[in-house]
């Protein structure tokens, strides 16, 4: 009898646990709740240590306040960029997409468009002059397909490089190079002074290294610039590309740290932040790290200067923005469009700039005095970038996504001499062709 009681109790406990576990919280998916308020489930990777986490949280708070009783955003945190992309891809496969998706640097727009799941925003944007004015030519290119506007950008990608003024002084270098010949001469001078000139990486798509590569290609000649402006290029076996890869090979062999081979962005960043290297190519989101004492020394920010690339080049393109996906409930779609408009408004762009030093997607949004005081290096860089004669998007934003792995696999072989520049470009072309 006693044992039977024990069995019954255990059974009751399991049933209780299981039924408790299945109790659903409200509003897991976007829908209209009982008060008639439309709830938007918004998944985002901009959480945790992501630099934009604070901005997104603030925008959600403001939106919910502004549209109280009408719309509400429920934030779904998906920590980790790749986790976010993986989950969206699974949802794409099932057609069960959240109403608003941030394309970011992952080109999710084209994946969703291929399945005809994206809402055309052209009519809405054209009808709203304030919204339309935020679209520059570049923003239209990034967010439109076949003449139709599908997305709206909030952030721009303005990327140059940072240098360590103290190490430059030690090597007797007065200012950043104006030409590539001068740049390589500076690398040689730094090396002779016992200073490693460059932070570079090869793993995780080699972000830092490909910034140098793309800058070399874009400034080689008109064909190089055209190549950089081409979406999903398939032929990497071009004279400009081969010449640029040869120079990157030299950089990897002679002017960077040993841990660049197989190293990730974190190692490259740490080498610069710890004063081991004199230069790193990266965007303004890194500025916050210069004052982070868990990553660098107290006075490091004072030692950092910023520059555009030699031959007057800067990466400058809006990052693919927010887009609305087709929903069975038109009211949810309407709410989603309102959210995209709010999240990419001049106010939102200004907020990103003031809170986190995010470069606005629209050139109509000016750098405020508050941002200038808070991020002097950003302000200095924006002024420098304004004078750049050549500008385009970065190579990763335009290449087929499978090449991100190829570049990581082949750069170490390029450095070791297993393959030469031509061989590298041939492999890139071969892997790009797999997409056609």
């Amino acid at each position: 009898m006693k044992k039977l009681l024990v069995v019954l109790l255990i059974t009751a406990m399991v049933v209780g646990m299981v039924s408790g576990c299945s109790k659903k919280a409200d509003n897991k998916k976007s829908s209209t709740n009982k008060d008639g308020e439309i709830v938007l489930n918004y998944p985002t990777f901009q959480c945790g240590v992501n630099t934009a986490a604070e901005v997104v949280a603030k925008l959600v708070e403001e939106f919910n306040e502004k549209y109280d009783g009408k719309y509400e955003i429920k934030l779904e945190e998906i920590p980790g960029d790749t986790n976010y992309v993986d989950k969206i891809k699974v949802q794409l496969g099932t057609g069960d997409l959240p109403p608003v998706i941030y394309g970011g640097g992952f080109n999710l727009l084209d994946l969703a468009l291929a399945k005809d799941l994206v809402v055309d925003l052209t009519e809405k944007v054209d009808a709203d002059s304030e919204w339309k004015d935020l679209y520059s030519e570049a923003a239209l290119t990034t967010n439109s397909r076949d003449g139709k506007i599908y997305a709206s950008s909030v952030e721009g990608s303005l990327v140059g490089y940072f240098y360590n003024k103290e190490l430059f002084d030690k090597a007797g270098i007065k200012e950043p190079a104006k030409t590539w010949d001068e740049f390589f001469a500076q690398c040689e001078t730094l090396k002779k002074a016992g200073i490693t000139p460059l932070s570079m990486d090869t793993a995780d798509s080699a972000w830092v290294t490909q910034l140098w590569l793309g800058a070399l290609v874009a400034t080689d000649n008109e064909s190089g610039l055209d190549f950089m402006k081409t979406m999903n290029p398939t032929d990497y076996n071009t004279p400009e590309m081969i010449a640029a890869v040869e120079k990157v090979q030299k950089m990897l062999k002679e002017y960077t740290t040993l841990d660049a081979i197989g190293g990730k962005y974190e190692q490259a960043a740490n080498n610069f932040l710890s004063g081991q290297t004199a230069m790193i190519a990266n965007g303004p989101w890194m500025i916050g790290d210069f004052t982070d004492e868990t990553k660098t020394t107290k006075d490091f920010a004072d030692k950092v200067g910023t520059a555009i690339y030699p031959d007057s080049f800067v990466y400058d393109a809006p990052i693919q923005g927010y887009f609305v996906t087709k929903q069975s409930d038109p009211k949810v779609e309407e709410a989603a469009i309102e959210m995209v408009k709010f999240f990419t408004s001049a106010h939102a762009q200004q907020l990103g700039l003031d809170l986190q030093g995010m470069v606005p997607a629209s050139d109509t949004v000016k750098v405020s005095d508050e941002a200038k005081d808070k991020f002097p290096l950003l302000s200095e860089f924006i002024e420098l970038a304004a004078d750049a004669e050549t500008r385009t998007d970065n190579m990763q934003a335009t290449m087929y996504s499978n090449l991100l792995d190829t570049i990581s696999q082949e750069l170490p072989r390029l450095q070791s001499g297993d393959i030469d520049a031509k061989g590298f470009c041939e492999i890139m072309s071969k892997d790009a062709a797999k997409n056609s």
Partner: protein
């Protein structure tokens, strides 16, 4: 002449054995110690000198870990989900294992093959169908959804272990129970299950660790804090251009402690069960 004297060759062999064991212990413990030590180092220390000792011992990494991610909530979810999965798995699969080990019925081999087959299906191939099924059952973002999926994922291994365990128990025990008047159910619960402790512990540990460490389904099948599990919390500390390794290692330390404890407590049973039946007498 002292016949107990160990000759130099044996001494050398004994020394080599100890050296080998010490090397194995170091190899096994080093990653854990490294993670633990790193949880007290700054980001710069971790990246610049990976194997050095921390300059100071402070708990800022642990404080950051708790601030940045809802790690305690996820921890509690993991304990509940892994606990229920382990219990359900062991209960159901021990029954199934017993039937497969002892009973004869039509299609037995085919059914066993079918159930074991799911072990070789890659997890990525299951993602889409499982997502659709869980959604259509209204179990998206619920603990029950994860419990069902994890129970199913752990099924082949537990079945394999429990069937082998019951096959290794002499039939005479059951026959004696039947002679004494015990029925099928009573024989199973009171005679066979206590004899299969090793197999039960082994499948329980594997089911617990499998559920505790699982990441992909936890990511895809949940959207909020109410059902998410511990592995997801570790992703809060690194993004493409931002990282907090100190907090990450602190979170990893918190995350691995239960796994180590569970394995440490049951390691003898697990090892004896995995080697059970290797030699037939």
């Amino acid at each position: 002449m002292n016949t107990n004297t160990i000759n130099p060759r044996d001494r050398l062999l004994a020394a080599l054995k100890y050296l080998f064991v010490i090397a194995c212990v170091i190899a096994a413990l080093f990653p854990l110690l490294w993670v633990f030590m790193s949880s007290f180092k700054s980001n710069s220390e971790i990246l610049s000198s990976g194997v050095s000792l921390p300059k100071s011992f402070n708990f800022s990494g642990y404080i950051d870990a708790l601030r940045i991610s809802p790690i305690l909530k996820y921890f509690a979810n993991s304990v509940l989900i892994a606990g229920v999965v382990t219990f359900v798995n062991v209960l159901l699969l021990s029954m199934a294992g017993y039937v497969f080990a002892r009973c004869q019925f039509f299609g037995k081999k085919f059914l066993y093959f079918l159930l074991s087959l799911s072990m070789v299906i890659p997890m990525t191939a299951l993602l889409h169908p499982v997502y659709i099924v869980v959604n259509s059952l209204q179990l998206y973002d619920t603990k029950l959804g994860l419990i069902l999926v994890y129970t199913a994922l752990n099924m082949p291994m537990s079945l394999l272990i429990m069937r082998s365990t019951f096959q290794g128990i002499p039939r005479a025990l059951e026959e004696a129970a039947y002679v004494d008047g015990a029925g099928f159910v009573r024989t199973f619960f009171q005679i066979m299950l206590p004899c299969a402790k090793g197999g039960l512990a082994s499948s329980a540990v594997l089911a617990f660790l499998g559920s505790w460490n699982e990441f992909t389904f936890a990511l895809v099948l949940t959207s909020g804090e109410s059902a998410r599990t511990l592995p997801l919390s570790l992703s809060y500390f690194t993004s493409q251009f931002s990282f907090n390794y100190t907090a990450l290692f602190a979170a990893v330390t918190i995350a691995v402690i239960p796994s180590i404890l569970v394995f440490a407590i049951f390691q003898e049973q697990v090892i004896s069960s995995l080697t059970a039946g290797a030699v037939k007498e």
